[in-house]
Symmetry: C2
Subunit: 156 residues, 2 copies
Amino acid sequence: MHRTDLIAIGDLAARTGVAVSAIRFYEAKGLLAALRTAGGQRRFLRADIRRVSFILIAQQMGLSLEEVARELASLPAGRTPNAADWTRISTGLRARIDARLAALMQTRELLDQCIGCGCLSLKKCGLYNARDKAAQRGAGPRYLLGDRAGEIAEVG
Amino acid sequence: MHRTDLIAIGDLAARTGVAVSAIRFYEAKGLLAALRTAGGQRRFLRADIRRVSFILIAQQMGLSLEEVARELASLPAGRTPNAADWTRISTGLRARIDARLAALMQTRELLDQCIGCGCLSLKKCGLYNARDKAAQRGAGPRYLLGDRAGEIAEVG
DNA sequence: GCTTGATCTAAACCTCACTTGAGCTTTCAT
DNA sequence: ATGAAAGCTCAAGTGAGGTTTAGATCAAGC
């Protein structure tokens, strides 16, 4: 309907605050799809501004790009999230935030118990066992710590 | 006093739940110091178990290894933290946790406003402007996003 | 004395999320 | 028709926080 429903990569970058290189990167990762001009340049839909926004917000909630890709892929016909989708997805994100908050509050509580005690005993100090259980799971690129640290001993 | 006040790297690894390779890595980064046997093998003090514990806990609080190194270096004569040191340091860590909690709660509030609205408008949605301001500052390797994203536009 | 397991070094590799650079091509306003 | 600005591809680099690999050496029990 509009004269120009297609926007260039630089425009998309400007409208979302993301670098052009990042947009190409997202496309390469399958998070975005672009049409091409006869000359080979990318042209995005206006709706992709919304899509990029979704990526950024979801990232901020602690999802990796791969997880974002999964969310987007789960939409019927690969469409850009509409209001209903957004409500459904963001409700899920809320759960993640709640989990992170809970973990963080627990950590704070343990830290408070620890302040003044100075033990640093791996056995007595609750901070320790909390370490790989709850805290920071999915809270950004802490990807590699895949449940190592099986046994923990006392300081002795 | 004890027969064996010195422990091998494998023992330190077992007592702390950290991989042997990680301990060597920490030593290379200056977080730990080891004595050597005549044959060149590392021998650690028992107190280093405590030191490694400190590293892990501080890391969990969101400090990078470099920051941990700074904390440890700030101790007189490079000693392993004792109870008083720990109280001082952990009080500082508590402030970090509080900041992270505050950021996270703000994000949740914004998300709540957003759920049901489905706008994803970069202008109206508070989630956006919160993005590079507060949330997740220092919360893991989010190092690269150094205050880019100057201007943000509306979805229109 | 011998074997087995632990340790040694150095360098290469890994993830994630991008950025940077080199060397060309397209687009668009004038 | 032209020249600047924006775009293109592909490869390589960045940074934190490690792990893996290879080939050699050390320590300890029997």
